[in-house]
Subunit: 214 residues, 2 copies
């Protein structure tokens, strides 16, 4: 968890220090690199993406990338932890939302669907490329995700205790919900015959009605 905190603090201090023109320019170039990287990691996977490919898509030489980033794996960390942090922030906000456990679950489902629809590259990279994180950030990510899953399980348990959710294994419900969303990947690859709103409503209907008791 120490590692995560460091990454977050780093990005925050970068933001607050970016008043000077040179630094703002530098930050935005780095953002471009990370954004292009997310797109390429999503398309070809992290190991199959070379720094030369990335440099070309940014419009500079490979060696010049290292004026903005420290290493290839640092880029992967940035992509994964900034979206992972957002997932955790959303979850934390639910604590004080004063809504039922079923409503919390619906909010979580909608959140992940929207991540998949509107922040596709980053979310996809987090979900599919986390294995390629280096030892320490990998351990951090895994423990972070375990915490997230357990929190969701406890919400489902509450719903079952309140007889609002049918008595299903909370663990299975959570796995089902979190992975179901991944199916939207194919919509991104397809001709997009349906609108994002249609997809969201239909998937929420399916996943919530399967959860409700009676």
């Amino acid at each position: 968890m120490t590692y995560l905190t460091n990454v977050t603090n780093l990005s925050q201090s970068c933001l607050s220090l970016s008043m000077a023109k040179a630094q703002r320019k530098k930050a935005s170039k780095k953002d471009l690199i990370v954004q292009k990287a997310a797109s390429m990691f999503r398309e070809k996977g992290f190991p199959a993406t070379s720094m030369r490919d990335l440099a070309e898509s940014v419009g500079i030489e490979a060696a010049s990338l290292y004026n903005h980033i420290q290493s290839k794996s640092e880029i992967l960390q940035q992509i994964i932890f900034r979206i992972s942090d957002d997932c955790n922030k959303h979850l934390a906000e639910l604590d004080n939302a004063g809504i039922s456990s079923l409503e919390k679950i619906e909010s979580i489902i909608r959140f992940h669907i929207q991540m998949m629809l509107h922040r596709f590259e980053d979310y996809h990279v987090m979900i599919n490329e986390w294995i390629h994180l280096e030892a320490q950030p990998l351990a951090d990510f895994i423990s972070q995700r375990r915490f997230y899953v357990q929190k969701l399980e406890s919400i489902i348990k509450e719903g079952i205790a309140a007889k609002k959710i049918k008595p299903i294994l909370p663990y299975v419900a959570v796995l089902t919900i979190l992975s179901a969303v991944r199916g939207l990947e194919f919509w991104h690859r397809s001709q997009k015959s349906y609108s994002p709103e249609e997809l969201e409503e239909n998937m929420v209907t399916y996943l919530i009605s399967g959860l409700k008791s009676n």
Copy 2:
């Protein structure tokens, strides 16, 4: 589709010709290579797995692999198409099964859960590494999967017409079902607190009850 047929025919003729002792031995060594490869592709991904790593886990030198296989990507094709073929075979058998559309969907859900639980390595590689297929097999795989999805959609449509399935977008239902199963990956990585049977029953309950009308 031509490519797929070739792969299938190849493996069938290999099987039927494997009566001679030398050939049987050769086939089983190749099987070992492919099996170890599936395990490593699953663990580290196709591009991050080197032929030297694979050779070491088989117990020979990297150069010796090429007495049994033609290329790294041929191994990936074998893994993916032999399990993809099994999925299609199962789907074809449902045509003459004389069961309702809801029962067909349940059978498909159970089939994929069992693939994920009992043929984990192969199934995982198919689901996560198909992007790394070469141009022709990649095109074949994509069209094969599109066909599969459309078949499932039409079964869902039948169920909706018969008022057995609630009027949900069939496309979304299919995406949800096929990707939900992927959640079982985390069970494989975990301490396995639950039995395969528990997981299957709970996930089927969730996914089927979300589909039923009223």
